[in-house]
């Protein structure tokens, strides 16, 4: 089945080569980082998690977003998702693979990563994160592959795969809840210490994942003969739109709690993110344009999304999904993770700027994810087109 990924147009091979080039470059940067230490990044004593962990957090969401396709199709028999569900599962695989790569890239002692398995620590959320992420990866590989392979053979998928599919539904919720628990259980970081973090994570995940999927589906409609269908697209628009709206509602709740209660500790980080903080004469506001941009992109993207469906415009649909995806990427990636470290527990402010090697490694991990995604998608649409067109 995977041999379908070995045949492609010139454009396909150019894309793969491009990705491989980025992966190679990032690999070299990683060697540098491995030898020098994580000091080669922009992280510091105060901002001890940076781009790597922020991308990891965002991508767990994208992986969980696959649930929005699996749930209707398998649990509620929503046949219109027949073509698109496998894309969701495969996107989850690529996203989880990227998460695991980002974690390894972020470790100070990556050679000791297996210590988490050798010394299980159930009271640590990272332990559970390791379990649920790997479990979800396994589930998606198993379910996606078996179902696709059955389609390839022209038969219905075996009955034993159903329990695993059903398991992947609550499991998807769990991966992002556990990731949220990483943050919202820490007593020293008031920006993260909120019960709504897990719901916010999930809502932004259910918007960002399908939004990315929609963008890729539209690209595939242009470059291949594979069209997921207007009904599926319309349903996805509904899902993305409502999930994104929910996410911004939760953000508004955060603002209300912080500003109405007027508690300085609660306000500080939001002030830093959206207006900038002034400490001892110096102004710290490097994230303000990004956060405001994120809001703007969300407020434009969501109505545009519904508008594009009304106007039946694929171009506007793509644009709106890009806006929503970027908005959530900034909100969760930059805002959430970096904001938690400013101000630090001693009320000092250290700002964070990623360095070139850091960005290089990040780009390489994204490229690897897209590489895996391309191979899987080429296989999937190859099988589906062959079976459906005959």
């Amino acid at each position: 089945m995977i041999e379908k990924a070995l045949k492609g147009s010139k454009g396909y091979w150019a894309w793969m080569l491009f990705l491989l080039a980025i992966m190679g470059m990032g690999g070299m940067f990683y060697v540098q980082q491995f030898n020098y230490g994580l000091g080669i990044t922009g992280m510091s004593r105060d901002v001890s998690w940076g781009v790597y962990i922020s991308q990891f957090t965002f991508l767990v969401g994208v992986a969980a977003g696959g649930l929005m396709l699996v749930l209707p199709y398998y649990l509620h028999n929503y046949k219109a998702f027949g073509r698109i569900t496998i894309l969701g599962e495969f996107m989850a695989i690529a996203a989880v693979a990227m998460c695991l790569m980002f974690i390894i890239a972020d470790l100070g002692q990556p050679m000791r990563a297996l210590n988490v398995l050798l010394h299980p620590t159930p009271n640590s959320m990272l332990f559970w994160d390791m379990i649920v992420l790997n479990g979800y990866l396994f589930l998606n590989i198993l379910c996606g592959w078996v179902v696709l392979h059955s389609e390839y053979k022209g038969i219905k998928y075996p009955h034993w795969v159903k329990p695993f599919i059903y398991l992947s539904i609550p499991w998807a919720i769990s991966i992002h809840t556990v990731t949220a628990f990483l943050y919202c259980g820490l007593p020293g970081r008031h920006f993260w210490l909120t019960a709504i973090l897990a719901p916010r994570f999930l809502s932004s995940a259910f918007a960002a994942g399908p939004a990315l999927l929609m963008i890729i589906a539209l690209i595939m409609k242009r470059t291949t003969k594979f069209d997921v269908g207007e009904v599926a697209k319309s349903k996805l628009v509904t899902i993305i739109g409502y999930a994104a709206l929910l996410n911004f509602f939760f953000l508004a709740c955060e603002f209300f709690v912080a500003y109405y209660s007027n508690i300085p500790g609660h306000k500080h980080t939001l002030e830093y993110l959206f207006w900038g903080l002034e400490h001892h004469g110096e102004v710290y506001n490097n994230l303000v344009p990004f956060m405001r941009g994120s809001l703007a992109m969300g407020f434009v993207g969501i109505p545009l999304l519904f508008f594009s469906r009304a106007k039946k415009s694929d171009g506007l649909l793509a644009a709106s999904c890009v806006l929503i995806f970027l908005s959530l990427w900034i909100d969760k990636g930059l805002g959430l993770v970096l904001g938690g470290f400013v101000p630090n527990p001693l009320e000092h402010i250290t700002e964070y700027y990623p360095t070139v090697p850091e960005v290089g490694i990040t780009a390489a991990v994204w490229a690897t994810g897209f590489f895996i995604l391309t191979i899987l998608y080429k296989t999937a649409i190859g099988v589906k087109l062959e079976k459906e067109i005959g």
């Binding site: 230490g37 080669i40 004593r45 972020d106 100070g108 002692q109 009271n123 640590s124 001693l346």
Partner: protein, 278 residues
């Protein structure tokens, strides 16, 4: 014929997994390696923020008399030098890579939860020695995925540098900013060829890049009946007191009996072992 072969393979596969999995699972259970506790050997009142505790076992703590550090300028620096020298703590010369086990802060930074409104001016430039609080309910221990940081029976929150994978979850978890990470090799040299560790203490290891470190309450000195280096340095003027908080006759307990003290961020329920006489 084919069906039989398929069944045979299925059974063989399952038995192989069971055969490998079962003894491993047994071993893990029998070894009983799941010490996930952060309790320091005694039971605490579930109402956080300082209730009464049922005291059993040793619980090491410290009191810092802040006034003494104002009266003796340079004392804080000497304490810090003592600590950083004997533990081979590197000085990278920049704030980004900085590693510090013991350092001074201003009052509003060490005690941000306290009111700074109409504050007594004596507190303005007061150097407050800041270090790991060796909490009784340490969030860092709860966060560590490998038990590389753990709570000993005597109350010290210790680090095992061999096991640390450098995930820095403990740094995110610590409400007091007490932990530092080795962003680079501490045994290196700066651009002028000066080593980051100026004088090496051959009796204590350095650390390597990629692990988190913090104050270890001088456990290597405690093992031989000595008190922590910072306490020793400050003891001449009575700046710091150390001992077993559960022993009412120890210097620290006696000091707590006769002085009003405050702790850092008590509302978080971490139950620090460090007290400050302001």
């Amino acid at each position: 014929m084919e069906k039989n072969r398929r069944d045979f393979l299925k059974i063989a596969g399952l038995s192989a997994i069971a055969g490998i999995g079962a003894p491993t699972a047994f071993n893990m259970l029998l070894r009983g390696e799941v010490h996930a506790s952060s309790e320091g050997g005694h039971v605490t009142d579930p109402h956080a923020g300082g209730g009464t505790e049922v005291k059993t076992g040793k619980r090491l703590g410290m009191v810092i008399d802040v006034k003494k550090f104002v009266e003796n300028p340079g004392l804080a620096e000497r304490c810090i030098a003592a600590c950083h020298t004997i533990h081979n703590v590197p000085d990278f010369g920049n704030k980004k890579d900085e590693i510090k086990w013991l350092w001074t802060e201003k009052f509003e930074n060490t005690f941000p939860d306290h009111s700074q409104y109409k504050r007594h001016e004596a507190l303005d430039e007061m150097p407050i020695l800041t270090l790991c609080n060796h909490c009784d309910q340490p969030p860092c221990v709860r966060a560590c995925p490998t038990k590389a940081t753990f709570k000993r029976d005597d109350g010290v929150v210790a680090m095992d540098y061999h096991r640390c994978i450098g995930c820095r979850f403990c740094m995110a978890a610590c409400p007091y900013g007490a932990r530092s990470f080795n962003w680079r090799d501490p045994r290196g040299k700066d651009e002028n060829g000066n080593p980051f560790i100026k004088t090496v203490n051959p009796e204590f290891p350095t650390r390597m890049r990629g692990v988190v470190e913090k104050c270890n309450l001088c456990v290597e000195r405690l093992a031989f009946g000595k008190i922590p280096a910072c306490v020793e340095e400050a003891s001449a003027v009575g700046g710091m007191f150390f001992g077993d908080l559960n022993d009412s006759n120890s210097p620290v307990s006696q000091t707590l009996l006769h002085n009003f003290t405050i702790q850092r961020k008590p509302a978080l329920g971490t139950l620090p072992s460090l007290f400050y006489i302001i």
